[in-house]
Assembly symmetry: D2
Homo-oligomer: 305 residues x 4
């Protein structure tokens, strides 16, 4: 997403005016403020505000621990303890606000995370821009043969070319007709709230999205996951980098106890114990369904570095 | 939306098998269960489950009132009192679950109400049907000249015909190309999660939507309102009728204290008092902005029966 | 609540270290940061962090309005419009975090507002302080004779003295016994999580409470109301002053369209219209219940300045 | 908690009046309806309403899967898959409503779970009963020496007797004084909303609590856990039995994938792999902190047998 000169000027202006505050400041986050991180062909994520830092998490946790805490506890140690034991409320004490530009079909997945505040650009009130997501050649994946909800190999040759042609032509035609329908040149012009229905799901929209750190990490855990659709995962990946700079202790704990963690079912725990005791556990003796056994074996395979 | 014979048979089967329960039963709601109420050209709303009735509201309220309630209070009176004084928690004790089929652009407005449970048909996993919303001629409104977020007169003649042609042709073409891209006939076939991006916002989706009565009434207050977009209002109107049969006391209170109510600002209250005292209040002497003064006068005009 | 020298020193230290930020800054809120506003005999409210200002509200609203907004709209006018028309999401874009010290029976009312983030001092983990709320003589109200959920006149003479004696003595005795039970001096000592059960509801607790502006205003609307219990209303009143300094446009709109507003039922609207037309409406001809008619008449009486 | 004859008669009456419904019915839950399950010395839990069953979970999940599901998938298999892969929304499609009587200090922990609907008996409006939780001798635990937030051995002899005496006497005295203060016999009588502040946290309160299955299971996971305080765990244990009868497939999956599961951090996964490969991993070579290493070893110990 190449920024327009106007947009870049606005960002430069906002970053040129530091002010004085008595609040907690995260230097890592200040470095990100307002800058647009490009995602996909026309999208971006940019931080527009934030509240709190790593210390805000332990400060809130210590209200609950108060006097009982005898020694000055190491901040990172406490954050790791809280993450490990699913104490979520201290992480809710930090908040971030993002401005995101994203295709509508990605926005539809994103909004399923309900515990956040959202203000979206209104196509009922305003006119949308002529900007559509067209996948790069290497992201044009075939349907997976084994997983209804997955991708297989990258499309090649004529099939790939045909798909790109269709996506481009249909997008442009839909937008031409959108403009034609709302035009008030020599006609009344269709209501915007109706005309927008002609636009496909790869058109870009934008919103302000505000969320607390606990719910943000939950979002990232699901959407930065290998099973998430590529087009939302790239947004999650971009936000992961921002969070790592904002609250480095919390993010490291998140990597260790969430992103890189593995949850074992009661049956799986039993199998690991038997395997540690030297038993050769097999699909027949594991006590799991065929699918669970495959997932159990994939767990270990996936996490091999 | 004409039901297919299969769908009608399924509904008939579900309605043919009454069972015994010890729970509260609302006869008004039982009469609606599973039946599809047609909305727009291919959409519907149908109740698939519910919990509670008018008595469940007062039962919960009386836990909070307990022994202090000396006389046996009239159920309807208590419900009206609770509604009038914004006691929301007793209304949260009733719950309804709907199966809704609706255009994607309507679903995008609907989902902004976050306090509900939703399971939507997944176009990532499954293939969408060839069903698109095409407005009826009388709903093809022009953009409002005075309100960015509103409709003006109905389009006429050639302009109307051209709009309908464009919507129909673009829908059909987009779906043809969607099918072509995912086809595995002589090619790999594009992943479903990618192909869906070519489909416009008037395609139909469907979901299960579960919500408590308090949040349902809040939804209805906003979406059954004259300012809501017509295409979501018709769903709200259909649900209003269902709620009126489900919890008649609560619905009547909702009509009197929400749908038909008027909220006056501090300045408006002052004006009403001066007017009641015989003063001729004008735009100059009202103490409101031009826009507020217009809204104040419209309030009274709107509610004239 | 007289601060200890340690507490005052900590506040002074925090306020002595301004830092540079690129975020939006509210000068009105900076002036409040960390300072403890005394409430009741040992309680306080203090702002420990915030995000956003009046401009953050309009900024978010304009994402939804985008290009459609032709003229540069006045910020205050837009905020008033949003408040008047119940557009809640732009107000969710501001956030505040408070440190509050309050009696347990007040905390139990407060926590019923679920849309907030809370970390409370844990009496399971830590030892509570010997601090109890004892009402001032002028706040020692009798039970209302007409309203189960209300107060009547202030208690006088011996009755008042006896009540204060009981509250003081029972508090001190309960705390003595709490200390005796957890003491590990010559005995094992009861678990803190059990010993706390002996403490009465006027003991003070404390928490960090973080909430967005929309939900904060909703809290204030209910708790700064004349019908709220005095002991929570004084906290709401203190917070109202803070919000007025933080987001002055939003707070003024809140005063005009919420705190000072009046909601008329359909029946009441009808009566006002008849009264404006010169009719003498009476309890017999008003179409309301006895109780509603009284409330209708009180509405106008209350708001007479 | 021995029921009064009146309470038992009310339950018998409710259970004697089966009605006809077209909704999904869970026979396991019908058997529980209205019956009070005793918990602690005066508390109880009873189901007062519910919505949905195991089939409602798969029904909602299949809306998202639609046509893509080629074979008729086994209901239990699908439920286990959804639970294993953290698909939470289908579980939100079931709902239960409980009437709970519980000590105030337990209620204060319980209410921290915000995603539920609650109506509590109001001590502002009504008069509380003279019922206090006094622990059984075997539950009178000492403070843990190693864990601030835990219990050690059971108190013995004189120390135990003294604690029980103090709890009993302070409860009775506090209630005597509460009654004396609100009495209107020869005096005005203190307002109820003030008098309640004299009552200790072991007094019983009661509420209606309504929650969806996903959030209920989350509550049970945290509160039926060995680290939860005994006095809330007994409520969670009672509810676990009810859920097992209500939605047996979902409950079994919950046992296997949540209650009996173990989450391994990235470091722990690495250690398990090295151990499976035959390496003798020690505290020095494990790459974890001392505390994490201890927790890692306890994980395996806990789940033995």
């Amino acid at each position: 997403m190449p920024l327009t000169p106007d947009q870049q000027a606005e960002i430069d202006e906002l970053r040129a005016a530091p002010r004085s505050t008595l609040r907690a400041v995260s230097e890592g986050m200040e470095a990100h403020l307002y800058k647009a991180i490009p995602v996909l062909d026309h999208g971006f994520v940019r931080v527009v505000d934030y509240m709190g830092d790593d210390a805000a998490i332990t400060q809130a946790a210590r209200v609950s621990y108060g006097k009982g805490t005898k020694s000055v506890q190491n901040d990172e140690g406490l954050i790791r303890y809280l993450m490990r034991h699913w104490h979520s409320t201290p992480f809710e004490m930090c908040e971030a606000k993002f401005h995101v530009k994203l295709p509508v079909f990605v926005a539809r997945q994103w909004i399923r995370h309900r515990t956040a505040n959202v203000n979206e650009y209104s196509a009922r009130y305003s006119i949308l821009d002529r900007e559509f997501y067209i996948p790069a050649a290497e992201d044009l994946a075939a349907q997976s043969a084994v997983n209804n909800q997955g991708r297989g190999e990258v499309l090649q040759g004529e099939e790939a070319a045909r798909v790109l042609d269709l996506l481009r032509q249909d997008s442009m035609r839909a937008y031409d007709h959108y403009e034609e329908m709302i035009s008030q040149d020599g006609q009344q012009g269709l209501a915007r709230e109706l005309a927008r229905m002609n636009l496909p799901a790869n058109i870009y929209t934008q919103w302000y999205w505000k969320v607390d750190l606990h719910n943000l990490l939950h979002f990232l855990r699901l959407r930065a996951d290998a099973h998430a659709q590529y087009e939302i995962r790239v947004y999650a990946d971009a936000i992961c980098k921002v969070v790592a700079d904002w609250v480095p202790f919390a993010y490291k704990a998140f990597e260790d106890y969430r992103l890189g963690s593995v949850t074992l079912s009661a049956q799986m725990v039993d199998c690991v114990k038997r395997m540690l005791a030297g038993e050769e556990v097999t699909e027949e003796t594991c006590g799991m369904s065929k699918r669970e056994w495959r997932e159990f074996r994939e767990l270990w395979a996936q996490t091999t570095s």
